[in-house]
């Protein structure tokens, strides 16, 4: 596709569904998900690429969807928070967030869930410092992060069949 008009047709795989859709070229991916596809679980917090509310998975990498044009999703495989649970049942990751009180207002939660899910690929349980480093692209103003770190540690332990190394608070 080399054509240049102010609307472009794109095809993508979104949460297991393949769709074709015409989009305005200036629309960012977060608006596309929310307004065009009705996937309002992905939130918008700054449109400056700082807060991370709009974090989604594109081709198995987490990205900020406000810094991505909808047209750049053409041919991509996209996962949003709506695809996380298993039917009516919360996934292990979601259960861990619930158990550890890793959310309060819940506005940032989809962003953290996306990053947490991507950490599976490390193939091991990250240290708490590594987890904090990895999630520092999403801003939470409610929890103070502790519950989120614990939930991710717990979840990775479950996924990789090992209990998280317990760290005694300093």
């Amino acid at each position: 596709m080399t054509a240049s008009t102010n609307r472009v047709e794109i095809s993508l795989e979104i949460n297991g569904r393949t769709i074709t859709q015409s989009v305005p070229v200036r629309m960012h991916a977060a608006d596309f998900l929310r307004q065009t596809l009705g996937l309002t679980g992905t939130h918008i917090g700054c449109e400056q690429g700082v807060c991370g509310m709009c974090t989604i998975s594109v081709d198995d990498r987490v990205v900020k969807s406000c810094l991505l044009l909808a047209v750049q999703l053409d041919g991509a495989r996209v996962r949003t928070v709506e695809a996380l649970s298993d039917g009516d049942r919360l996934s292990l990751l979601q259960e861990a967030f619930k158990r550890h009180h890793a959310l309060q207002c819940g506005f940032c939660t989809p962003g953290f869930l996306a990053v947490a899910k991507s950490l599976e690929a490390w193939g091991r349980v990250l240290t708490r410092a590594e987890i904090r480093d990895e999630i520092s692209g999403v801003l939470c103003r409610c929890t103070g992060y502790e519950g989120i770190v614990r939930a991710i540690e717990d979840y990775l332990g479950a996924v990789h069949g090992m209990s998280a190394q317990t760290e005694v608070p300093a």
Binding site: L84, E146, A170
Partner: protein, 794 residues
């Protein structure tokens, strides 16, 4: 945290099935974890338009000319409003918590002839998309004449400062109030040691991750305005919208479904709310406005900015004999729904036994974004001043700051204690929190040691910070004396349903505080129904009884009483119906497993579902008993309750750069009986990190020349990320309050209070040999480096 389930006052006896005090998972979580929350921007209505707002770029300017011709001609643009039109169509915004003694300053949704702060709305546009509305903003020609401005809080009271509201005020001093007791001046003059300093508190942004937002539709035939708003106070927004839009309250329904963080910011109606409503009413089409982050920093209310001139006097043993505090808060260019912080006056003497004291509060106007409520509302500010000055005084007297606090702290037997500003502290044990914090960081040993650099060149310091926090309001009478437009009560409606469950209706919206969960726990406990069978419907003025709203750490204190009363009324009627069905006296019955059974024969029972159906249909209930099973209760607690505690910070300072690591942060805290320990921990940790952010890095700064905000973007405002947060250790005590239902105390704001003083005291302790004194927040490495240089120079 290790909480023990402790029965407070009025706790039902059946503790083995008690759900109050248990860390049950939250009601709110499932939907939020699935992306199924319903935030304002998640609502899209058919034929909806979107609004964007042109804002004044100057701190103070005359508006000479507004030309919207080109914008109106842009395809996709539907309507443009300017200040003149808005003044014809609406009344000024109203204030919920006026500054006592201040004149009202009418504030229209759009500026007409003059704007008094950067970010003030000047023109509003609605278009088919937000992008087109923003395109239109670029086509609007507004001719401004910048006029002299003042952004500095001291300069604003100088005789040559431009007066912001000359029609109603002769200067930029909006009001002053004094509270005092005893003879503070005489005690000061007779004291062995007197210290005083000015403590400067930074202007910060509450920064909810969801910005403000509103979606409005108007059906003129029905005279029905349907509002979806991201607010903490839907019933109060309804009141304010009615006043500004010249509508009856009965024409307005406000729904706040999920709210993405609030922290005091989302208290009341803002100009954009009025504008969105006006457009929707004029066009008879739904209008959405979602604040973007650049607007947020200039148009949403800021928090905190103040300076405190604090004086503490002591005798030679270190006993405090007088505290005097004159403080000045900046309200910005105009009044906001809640105005600048008021609670410094209430807790200025902290947890100490001081009978002779005075506090004076001045409120000033400057050409900056208005200040509103923010988590703590004056209590973090005054705590910083008092606790830092107290450490300095202790050092002056060659006493340890721990010993100084120990000596002066109110003892349990001193309580209740009426403070010099006539607040009444309820029961508590302040000293215990101090001792626990001191023990946790081994304070005594550290104090005796020298402040030599470690192997890595850093010097370790420890700081303490004790506090008392008012949670809830003293009474509606107290509020009436201050002109507040709301009460001190909370309310709830409980209504049973045919599925055997209870629907709980509350005007308290859900913004992360966990009220759906805590309310359901109390309802379940009192009624004896399973927690899973209580469904909470929050924040809809069309469904909930009139209430106050969620702020001031007051929700649970008041709502617990309403929940108890309503649930007891339901329970009583359930028992009456069951007694008839089981042919027994109500005394012979007990509630167990979603049913009522005979105490003597648990096999004979009738299910809740059966009882509820009987009540709903009126079939099978005793003669003379009205059908239906529903109760509404309003409850005002008899007094405010005071949380308390002590924080201790351990820091390691690099004296070459001023950089420091927070190696430990210990918080000892008492919020009475925790309804849900998990929620309590979440509230304390979350507020602590906001307090740490404001103490360490967050600060909205204005250019002294241009008067414009220098760092109004997410990139330049340093809110803490996960890696910025030091390890936090929570310890807690549990003294049930004797003035609230179930012995609860408020918990939402407490964490914001102690961090700034604890950290400042720790840094000053580490650098005591350098003569470092710090009286200003935030505590940046550069500020410390400058203090080291100043200490070396003197």
């Amino acid at each position: 945290m290790n909480f023990q389930v402790t029965a407070g006052v009025d706790m039902p006896a059946d503790t083995d099935r008690a759900i109050i005090g248990r860390s049950v998972p939250r009601k709110e979580d499932d939907r939020l974890l699935r992306g199924g929350g319903l935030f304002a921007d998640d609502v899209t209505l058919a034929h909806q338009l979107e609004m964007a707002v042109a804002r004044c770029p100057f701190p103070h300017a005359r508006i000479l000319r507004v030309d919207t011709t080109a914008a109106e001609a842009l395809p996709g643009v539907v309507q443009v409003l300017d200040g003149r039109r808005v003044a014809e169509l609406s009344e000024p915004l109203t204030v919920l918590r006026p500054v006592p003694g201040a004149p009202s300053l009418p504030y229209y949704a759009l500026a007409r002839d003059r704007a008094t702060h950067e970010g003030q709305p000047v023109v509003s546009v609605v278009a088919v998309t937000r992008a087109i509305a923003e395109d239109a903003l670029e086509l609007i020609e507004i001719e401004y004449e910048p006029i002299p401005h003042v952004t500095d809080m001291t300069a604003t009271l100088e005789p040559d400062a431009p007066v912001l509201h000359p029609d109603v005020l002769e200067s930029n001093l909006m009001a002053s109030n004094v509270d005092r007791a005893g003879e503070p001046e005489a005690q000061r003059d007779a004291a062995h040691a007197v210290l005083a300093d000015r403590f400067v508190v930074n202007r910060v942004a509450p920064l909810p991750m969801e910005t403000r937002g509103i979606v409005v539709s108007w059906r003129s035939g029905a005279r029905a305005l349907d509002v979806r708003s991201s607010t903490q106070v839907p019933h109060l927004v309804r009141k304010q919208l009615a006043e500004s839009l010249r509508l009856d309250e009965s024409s307005i329904r406000v729904v706040a479904s999920d709210v993405g963080g609030a922290y005091g910011l989302k208290l009341g109606a803002f100009p954009e709310d009025i504008l969105a409503c006006l457009h929707a009413m004029l066009l008879e089409r739904p209008v959405k406005w979602i604040e973007d982050r650049m607007e947020y920093f200039r148009a949403s209310t800021h928090g905190r900015e103040a300076f405190h001139d604090m004086m503490i006097a002591a005798d030679k043993d270190g006993r405090i004999t007088s505290i005097m505090n004159e403080y000045t808060t900046d309200i910005g260019g105009w009044n906001s729904p809640f105005g600048s912080s008021q609670l410094s006056s209430v807790t200025f003497t902290g947890p100490y036994r001081v009978a002779d004291a005075q506090v004076k509060r001045n409120v000033v106007l400057t050409n900056k974004t208005p200040v509103g409520a923010y988590r703590g509302y004056g209590q973090p500010e005054v705590n910083f001043a008092r606790e830092v000055l107290l450490d300095r005084l202790a050092r002056r007297l060659n006493k340890s700051p721990l010993e100084m606090r120990r000596l002066n702290m109110l003892r349990p037997e001193d309580l209740p204690w009426t403070t010099p500003s006539r607040a009444i502290y309820d029961n508590g044990d302040y000293l215990r929190t101090l001792e626990m914090a001191a023990t946790a960081v081994d304070y005594e040993r550290h104090w005796a040691a020298s402040r030599k650099p470690r192997g890595d060149g850093r010097i370790v310091g420890i700081g303490l910070s004790s506090f008392v926090e008012r949670t809830g309001y003293a009474s509606a009478r107290f509020l009436a004396n201050r002109g507040s437009q709301f009460g001190a009560h909370e309310s709830v409606t409980l209504r049973v349903n045919r599925s055997g469950g209870v629907d709980l209706y509350t005007g308290v919206s859900t913004f992360g505080q966990g009220s759906e969960t805590a309310f359901a726990q109390i309802c379940a406990q009192v009624l004896g129904i399973d927690y899973d069978f209580v469904r909470v419907h929050a924040g809809d003025t069309g469904a909930s009884p009139l209430n106050t709203g969620a702020f001031a750490s007051r929700t649970l204190i008041a709502a617990a009483g309403a929940l108890k009363e309503a649930a007891e009324a339901i329970r009583d009627k359930v028992l009456v119906i069951a007694a008839m069905a089981l042919e027994a006296e109500t005394d012979a019955l007990e509630i167990r497993d979603m049913a009522v059974c005979l105490k003597a024969d648990q096999g004979r029972s009738i299910s809740f579902k059966d009882i509820f159906n009987r009540a709903i249909t009126g079939q099978g209930i005793p003669e003379g008993i009205a059908p239906g099973l529903e109760a509404t209760a309003h409850f005002e607690p008899r007094s405010a309750s005071f949380s308390f505690g002590t924080a201790a910070a351990v820091v390691a300072v690099d004296p070459a750069t001023g950089d420091f690591e927070i190696e430990r942060f210990v918080m000892v805290h008492d919020c009475g009986v925790p309804v849900n320990p998990l929620l309590v921990e979440g509230q304390v940790r979350g507020a602590l990190v906001q307090g740490l952010g404001a103490a360490l890095d967050e600060e909205l700064r204005y250019d002294p020349e241009t008067g414009q905000l220098m760092n109004g973007s997410m990139m330049d405002y340093f809110a803490p990320m996960a890696s910025d947060v030091p390890p936090i250790e929570l310890l807690h005590t549990e003294v049930p309050s004797d003035v609230t239902p179930f012995g609860v105390r408020g918990v939402g704001e407490v964490g914001t209070i102690p961090p700034a003083a604890a950290l400042t005291n720790a840094v000053c302790d580490a650098l005591v040999d350098f003569g470092v004194e710090i009286s200003q927040m935030p505590l940046t490495p550069e500020r410390i480096w400058r203090a080291i240089r100043a200490g070396a120079a003197s």
